[in-house]
């Protein structure tokens, strides 16, 4: 038990240190270089495929997902990105990634200026407690991100095959 809680504590400390480092870095970092260290390889690869060598900025993206969910089968999530949503300056897509499902994608939503608002809500299926990352691509080609940790609990008495 002690080992487990120490490991958890260390992970949490590492995340705090990382978050502090990101904040000190004027909100600007490469996801592949720094923050990706906290995420397993599959998610890092998937994000790499999306952003290539572009930097990913912290900010402008709000990922609203409950920190503790009662069942991983249906996890409500809402994403919103600060943007004027004009022809010249809008969000073209928001991609959601997960780090512990069998595959790293959740959903990608595509927008144009006619959306008026760069936001959407859906429900995800999460196999375990994990970090979820939302990355927005702007019409100028820049990327912005937000992340959130979700703890997934399961019911005590679940259905069994008969």
């Amino acid at each position: 038990m002690n080992t487990t809680s120490n490991e958890r504590g260390d992970t949490r400390r590492a995340l705090i240190v990382k978050a502090t480092r990101l904040a000190l870095g004027a909100g600007f970092c490469s996801i592949l270089g720094e923050s990706a260290g906290a995420t397993p390889d599959m998610m890092r690869e998937a994000i790499g495929k999306l952003v290539g060598s572009s930097p990913v900025n912290e900010g402008r993206v709000t990922l609203d997902i409950p920190p503790l969910v009662e069942n991983g089968n249906t996890v409500p999530l809402t994403v919103a990105v600060e943007s004027p949503m004009t022809e010249a300056d809008h969000v073209t897509a928001i991609h959601i990634f997960n780090e512990k499902n069998p595959q790293p994608y959740v959903i990608a939503a595509h927008f144009g200026p006619r959306a008026g608002k760069a936001a959407f809500a859906t429900r995800a299926k999460l196999s375990d407690s994990q970090r979820i990352i939302a990355i927005a691509r702007m019409s100028d080609g820049s990327f912005w991100m937000a992340g959130a940790d979700v703890i997934v609990t399961i019911a005590a008495c679940v259905e069994m095959n008969e």
Partner: protein
């Protein structure tokens, strides 16, 4: 035939940003679960959801296995003119579903 439920305001003022909600019955079987006979249940998911507003695509989403069963989507658009919104879902096993909604813009 899959049952879908669309929520679009019946009336809107020109220029208003309106919220659109779409719910559809679909198992979103991930392809990672083992069935009662010990073999993997084949993947059966929706891959693409689109919304057209008088013939112009205003929203599109690519779903993965990590979208929950009976997928729910909420998104926005600017009310530009009266007309028809067409919602389409397509996926594995040649799944196709279409639903429409009318809007009056004043």
């Amino acid at each position: 035939m899959a049952r879908a439920l669309i929520n679009v305001p019946a009336h809107a003022k020109k220029g208003d940003i309106i919220e659109i909600k779409a719910l559809i019955s679909h198992p979103m079987e991930s392809g990672y679960r083992v069935g009662m006979n010990g073999t993997i249940i084949p993947r059966d998911i929706i891959h693409v959801f689109t919304c057209d507003y008088n013939g112009v695509e205003i929203f599109r989403a690519d779903f993965s296995q990590a979208v929950a069963a009976n997928p729910f989507m909420s998104f926005h658009t600017i009310a530009t003119e009266s007309g028809k919104l067409v919602f389409r879902w397509s996926g594995d096993k040649d799944f196709e579903a279409t639903e429409t909604a009318e809007i009056i813009v004043e």
